[in-house]
């Protein structure tokens, strides 16, 4: 299909779809085709769902999470522990931690990691916002839940340095043996990390 074999509206839809993660120009055409063929069942409900979401989403001015209210549901939930803040890269990480149900404190969403190659500097991490939340002395622990990649670890290093002088306890997630992992299958780096992070039993 060449660029001018569909009307400009359809072409515009395809070029927008192609910018979504996991989609390329070819798969975007396939998606557009399905949407058009199933107008009542898919296209119209999708249009209205997207409009609804577009109308109500807000970025939380406290933690950077995206929700339908500002401050967000998590920040206003009185049952959550105000003493711990978990620092994550993105909203997807908040969802993952909430799904696991392991953390009952509040979040700080960075919106990305430090990356010189992608032009993301410290000013994009919203750290003044995080530091302001420490002002009333209620927060006792900051948990850095960042990826074990070069960018993730460099960012964790940076943030822990920024927080060092503020007298708050800074922790990071453990690294090591995965669930179902057998020692013989682990690479040296993971095994070393697991060994260093060993814990006493009983």
């Amino acid at each position: 299909m060449t660029a001018n074999s569909a009307g400009p509206e359809i072409e515009r839809l395809i070029s927008l779809l192609a910018r979504l993660p996991g989609l390329g120009p070819r798969s975007a055409r396939r998606v557009a085709l399905v949407l058009m063929k199933r107008k009542e069942a898919l296209l119209d409900p999708l249009v209205s769902a997207m409009q609804d979401v577009g109308r109500v989403i807000r970025t939380c001015s406290v933690c950077g999470h995206v929700d339908t209210s500002d401050p967000c549901t998590i920040c206003t939930d009185a049952r959550r522990d105000p003493a711990t803040i978990c620092v994550v890269e993105d909203i997807g990480d908040v969802w993952a931690l909430e799904r696991a149900g392991v953390f009952r404190g509040r979040y700080h969403v960075l919106g990305g990691l430090l990356s010189a190659l992608d032009g993301r500097g410290p000013e994009t991490l919203g750290l003044p916002r995080l530091i302001a939340r420490l002002g009333d002395g209620k927060v006792t622990e900051i948990i850095l839940a960042l990826a074990a990649t070069v960018d993730g670890q460099a960012t964790a290093f940076y943030i822990s340095g920024e927080l060092a002088a503020l007298g708050v306890k800074v922790t990071r997630l453990g690294q090591g043996l995965p669930f179902g992992g057998e020692l013989g299958w682990l690479d040296d780096g993971t095994l070393t990390a697991a060994f260093r992070a060993r814990q006493s039993v009983g």
Binding site: G24, A154, G161
Partner: protein
């Protein structure tokens, strides 16, 4: 990282599990001179004979893509497509059945279908499922190669020797490829910061800590590889000269002085050289500057000042020692391009005997089938030409 499991992961590997890696099936599509071929073989060495330009090296190169990096020719993967005059290059793919100590795996790699606007990627599939990337292949396969282009390895710059050692180190430590990639990423990030003059010291500290962590792992893996090579070299009986090798470099010296505190020392050294690196526009210190010193043991001479023939023999010594050193897990597949032609008859026999003793699946190419006659039934022979590969 969790490694890929063999197809029959539930069944423990039998006591007679192969102690050498081998390909039992190889198929190429749209790969350089080949439209599509499939080759079936067993775990014995493979001889590919054919005229110059018949496509023998292309087969070896295709196998070399079953490991991370840029393959045996050292080119970007996008260049391996079949080129047909007047047509757009089609997406190439290499698929193989691989035998190893953990069982049989189906592995495939190739270029992603290239529609407009998409950057082509190198895809890797293991047992028909997408793998995280080329480094996943090191968990299930190991391959080493020797090509005529490497004849100048001892004479030319250190980067070739580093790559040579890294390939061997990957065979001992599958995580080495990842450590190198992470180190390179952190190095590029730091250099970008320095070049942009944004040098936030804390950000640089973080990147240097990452460079030091992965760099120390690289040095440890390389030193380990050198040690293993040296101890396998002492067992040398194959008629090739023994080599004495050592890893040299500033970061390596720092590491050797006190391995336990090497991370901190490397990070501190990097922090001190920020200004110099900024002025130079490159990173002047680190494991990416290491060199591999190779000496001819008996003559006590640097490899670079040995004769061309001796250099070739030293290279073969190193490859055989690397294969022998890896035999604890499994002997790697060896890709020996035009190796037999450069050896006199005595050494050729010695090479064939060494390959047999190792039990290695060596893929050897040559223009003349008669050169491989001494291999007799120890090898399976194929004729290469006109875009086809036919059993001889």
């Amino acid at each position: 990282m969790q490694a890929a499991r063999p197809m029959d992961a539930q069944i423990p590997a039998p006591a007679s599990a192969p102690r050498a890696y081998a390909l039992t099936r190889l198929s190429l599509s749209n790969y350089r001179s080949y439209v599509g071929i499939a080759l079936e073989c067993d775990a014995r060495p493979v001889v590919l004979a054919g005229e110059n330009g018949a496509g023998k090296t292309n087969v070896l190169e295709a196998i070399s893509w079953l490991s991370p990096g840029r393959g045996l020719r050292g080119v970007p993967f996008v260049e391996a497509c079949r080129e047909e005059p007047g047509a757009a290059p089609a997406a190439w793919a290499v698929a193989a059945t691989l035998l190893g100590p953990d069982g049989a795996f189906e592995a495939g790699t190739g270029i992603s279908a290239n529609s407009e606007g998409e950057t082509p990627r190198r895809l890797v599939r293991i047992n028909h499922a997408p793998a995280s990337g080329p480094s996943a292949l090191t968990e299930i396969f190991s391959v080493l190669w020797l090509t005529p282009a490497m004849d100048r390895l001892f004479i030319e710059g250190a980067s070739g020797r580093r790559k040579f050692l890294d390939r061997i180190a990957m065979g001992f430590e599958p995580g080495h490829a990842q450590a190198c990639a992470a180190y390179e990423r952190a190095t590029r990030e730091r250099l970008r910061l320095l070049r942009d003059g944004r040098g936030d010291p804390r950000w640089l500290d973080g990147l240097e800590a990452e460079m030091a962590r992965h760099g120390a792992a690289m040095i440890r893996n390389r030193l380990h590889a050198v040690m293993r090579l040296m101890s396998a070299m002492e067992e040398e009986t194959s008629g090739f000269p023994a080599a004495i090798i050592a890893l040299a470099g500033e970061a390596e010296t720092l590491f050797a002085a006190d391995p336990a505190s090497a991370c901190e020392a490397i990070a501190a050294r990097l922090a001190r050289s920020r200004r110099l690196d900024e002025a130079a526009g490159r990173t002047l210190f680190g494991p990416h500057r290491a060199d591999l010193d190779v000496r001819h043991a008996r003559r006590n001479r640097e490899a670079a000042s040995c004769s061309t023939g001796e250099q070739k023999a030293l290279l073969i010594s190193l490859i055989l020692a690397a294969a022998r050193a890896q035999s604890g897990r499994a002997v790697p597949v060896l890709l020996l391009d035009e190796v037999a032609a450069h050896l006199d008859e005595t050494r050729r026999m010695a090479l064939f005997d060494a390959i047999t003793a190792l039990g290695a699946q060596a893929w050897m190419t040559g223009t003349d089938m008669t050169m491989f006659e001494p291999m007799d039934s120890r090898a399976q022979k194929f004729r290469v030409g006109n875009g086809a590969i036919i059993p001889h």
